[in-house]
Symmetry: C2
Subunit: 209 residues, 2 copies
DNA sequence: TAGATTGTTAATCGATTAACAATC
DNA sequence: TAGATTGTTAATCGATTAACAATC
């Protein structure tokens, strides 16, 4: 039994864990057995100290002089991130961006399976993209209840995002992954994760100057 | 003439500016004339202090008791972010994600126009998506030189991203917006902006627990 | 053994938050 | 005028970096 007191991981560290995982997958393909923080850092242009600190939030001991066993560290990160559990999500907006996400098979390896897509365009209902069936948006609530889904993905244009969010909230969705460039108005208890391309673009342009 | 000493904006503040801009566009549609930091903060679930601090990096004075003129603040943010200049970019990878970006008309309002797309699939050469022509990847270098492009967007699958980055570097691209979940190996002087979905997903899952 | 690397505590740095004078 | 809000300087908080003992 572990202590009750668990240091919670800072968000910046949490965001870096998937990057470490990606490196570990590459190294595993090369049959590397051990990897050190310095090696990981070098590959990602981070500092070794930062990598070591980040990994300290994970339940794993490395070996002095050798580093971490690649397979163990990879598994432990997956474990920490919950990538071996499998969450199901519903996606709303079967346009190009929606289809891009549906086609992205790697999501499954990261614990997320999109089990159905929805769209307001009735012509799309019944279509199948990358093995995922599209339903009319009117079916969202019923199916969410029936399949006990609690993650929703929004890939509709900005002006429709709020309407979709309202439907999701009403249907009992607890977490929303929002790809529309709109600030969603939802009850406090709903988790919203925004992917805002404009912010990236602002940083890129600034750095280019 | 301004002083030589300009306080540079912290990256977190820079990333928030586009969010403020979005709010201002909404308010402008509503014909709101003035807006205060508190109002902006309330709409985005930020603190008023943070908004005020962020806006202080921008060259604009507000009016005590009233706030900022919506139109002025909007223009000044656009100016600060360089959204009235227009940069041209080439996109490589005309799959679903690539098409999603090509269809996203709002990019133009943010100073970025994608003027051509490239793909290694020769069947796509000559196709036109949302007004943008697709060329074979072999044409990338020549067209980049000729059109003096210095921003590249990578929307190919992970295993091909490095190859594309190499072509971009060789062609004189200075900034890369990378949507592939791979760490790119490029010379130090090249700016890379990664959009890593796994990091978002990690944060969302963590918060849901 | 010597040396490299981990794990962890302490120091530093930078962003966020607070405080408050200036102003309309 | 009183009160709300800006603009800016100071205090706080948290993440990053440094330092160093422990270990194989």
């Amino acid at each position: 039994m572990k202590g009750l007191e668990t240091t919670i991981i800072p968000e910046p560290s949490l965001r870096r864990l998937p990057l470490y995982h990606q490196i570990l997958e590459l190294e595993l393909e090369n049959n590397t057995e051990f990897i050190s923080c310095s090696k990981i850092a070098e590959m990602l242009d981070f500092t070794p100290i930062q990598v070591r600190k980040d990994l300290s939030y994970i339940n794993l001991i490395g070996m002095p002089k050798k580093g971490y066993k690649v397979i163990e560290l990879k598994d432990e990160i997956e474990n920490f991130l919950g990538w071996n559990r499998n969450d199901e999500a519903f996606l709303v907006g079967a346009g190009n961006l929606g289809k891009a996400l549906l086609s992205y098979a790697k999501l499954k390896d990261k614990g997320l399976t999109i089990t159905a897509a929805f769209d307001k365009n009735k012509n799309l209902a019944g279509e199948n993209f990358f093995g995922v069936t599209v339903f009319d948006i009117s079916k969202f609530q019923e199916l969410t209840y029936r399949m006990k889904i609690h993650i929703g993905i929004i890939t509709v244009p900005a002006p429709e995002a709020q309407k979709v969010a309202d439907i999701m909230v009403k249907s009992g969705i607890r977490g929303i992954w929002n790809f529309a460039p709109s600030k969603l108005n939802v009850p406090e208890k709903i988790i919203v994760q925004d992917v805002n391309l404009s912010s990236y673009l602002a940083v890129l342009s600034q750095k280019l100057k």
